[in-house]
């Protein structure tokens, strides 16, 4: 029996954070550390997840550093503009660990990215956490997809980008465990494309007033 990896979700009570937490709370997959500054919402999420999954080790922690210290894998699920602050807090304890960047650096109107074309949110996070293995994933996924990863009878693809082969492999398992089809897209700089893909889809969804249960799927024969 392999030891179970511990995943800390920083910003667990947010839209994406809670969706990811729910999808990973199945017994036997992972130990989950839920972290949020909002202690009331955190307590609520904790009991919501703990009750139906008594076989899963789930803890709520109100400190990002503590949660990351105990984790093997850290998912930064805060708003993009809070990432710098989180990175400062967790830098030392995240040494050698996988840090998952899920964010899209959108402007307030969701119409543009605030990063220049020669970088990405993931690469910026990597600069802030030079001793961690930053991996981009779940950024092309809407929160609603975690409840139903099968859309139009197809399992949605989730793209993964990172520089460390072992880390990318481990994250593929996380993606699979959340119910999606993992696709390894390339090194961390591919995040530039992945973040723009999501911008395209958000604009498309908003322009057409579509609902948020939608995903990417590469079709081939």
């Amino acid at each position: 029996m392999a030891t179970i990896n511990t995943i800390a979700i920083i910003g667990a009570t947010g839209n994406m954070g809670s969706a990811i937490a729910k999808s990973l709370s199945k017994p036997g997959s992972y130990r989950l550390l839920l972290m949020s500054n909002d202690t009331d919402e955190l307590a609520q999420l904790y009991s919501q997840l703990k009750e139906p999954n008594t076989g899963t080790e789930i803890y709520s922690i109100s400190c990002a550093r503590e949660a990351s210290w105990e984790a093997d894998i850290i998912i930064v699920a805060t708003q993009n503009d809070a990432e710098k602050e989180v990175a400062e807090k967790i830098r030392e304890v995240a040494t050698g660990k996988i840090v998952i960047s899920i964010s899209n650096p959108l402007n307030s109107a969701y119409r543009q990215l605030i990063t220049s074309s020669d970088t990405s949110a993931a690469e910026e996070l990597q600069k802030l956490l030079p001793n961690s293995k930053v991996v981009k994933t779940f950024n092309t996924t809407f929160a609603a997809d975690f409840i139903s990863s099968v859309i139009d009878e197809k399992t949605a693809d989730v793209f993964i980008a990172g520089n460390n082969g072992d880390a990318v492999k481990t994250v593929s398992e996380v993606v699979k465990s959340a119910g999606f089809n993992p696709i390894i897209a390339g090194d961390l700089s591919v995040s530039r494309t992945l973040e723009r893909m999501q911008l395209l889809r958000i604009r498309y969804t908003m322009n057409n007033s579509y609902n948020w249960l939608a995903g990417w799927k590469i079709l081939h024969n």
Partner: protein
């Protein structure tokens, strides 16, 4: 977070500030809760683990389901399944935290890189391995030739801290005696005082 590690290394080799900052980057800091496992027998042991705080034990489980404690590790000591770590083969040991603990994990690649990049680390690990061999030899000899009471007194002498912190059951298992024998020896020894 790295205090014990730095003093352990610093006691064997000269470390300047640059080397100290450099070597921290190779270790993965982990908090572990009491009763949490960091290695299960049958997996490959990926790290050698330095204990900054708390206590862990390595143990095997025989065919009849009996546990045998191989080693206790407290602050300032290392624990791993060395054979598995070095060979990449399946581990024989389980490693469990006996207290809430803080550890620093060093992977195989990181260990290699560390030895290349920080002067003196090769010497540190050589000394560590030497001490390991000495400890192992002592343990084998004790197991083969000492009486239960002698083994108990030896452990009291070299690791009184472990005697106070570990459970009677685990200490008995470490000494390869039954908890009843351990309790009898304890009484005898305290009566002699």
């Amino acid at each position: 977070m790295h205090e014990r590690l730095l003093s352990s290394i610093g006691s064997k080799i000269a470390l300047n500030e640059t080397a100290m900052n450099k070597l921290k980057q190779f270790f993965i800091p982990k908090k572990i809760r009491k009763r949490q496992y960091i290695l299960n027998a049958g997996d490959v042991c990926q790290y050698i683990t330095f204990v900054e705080k708390g206590m862990l034990r390595s143990f095997t489980v025989d065919d009849e389901g009996h546990e045998h404690v191989v080693q206790f590790a407290v602050e300032g000591s290392w624990i791993s399944d060395m054979a598995s770590f070095l060979s990449g083969k399946e581990a024989l040991y389980n490693i469990e935290a006996l207290e809430d603990s803080e550890v620093l994990n060093l992977g195989t690649q990181a260990m290699d890189d560390l030895m290349h990049q920080v002067p003196g680390m090769e010497r540190y690990f050589r000394l560590l391995m030497q001490n390991n061999i000495i400890a192992l030899q002592r343990r084998v000899v004790a197991y083969m030739s000492l009486s239960a009471e002698e083994k108990y007194l030896k452990l009291m002498e070299v690791a009184p801290d472990i005697m106070n912190r570990a459970s009677q059951q685990h200490i008995a298992s470490y000494l390869s005696i039954t908890p009843e024998t351990l309790s009898r020896i304890r009484k005898q020894v305290s009566n002699k005082k």
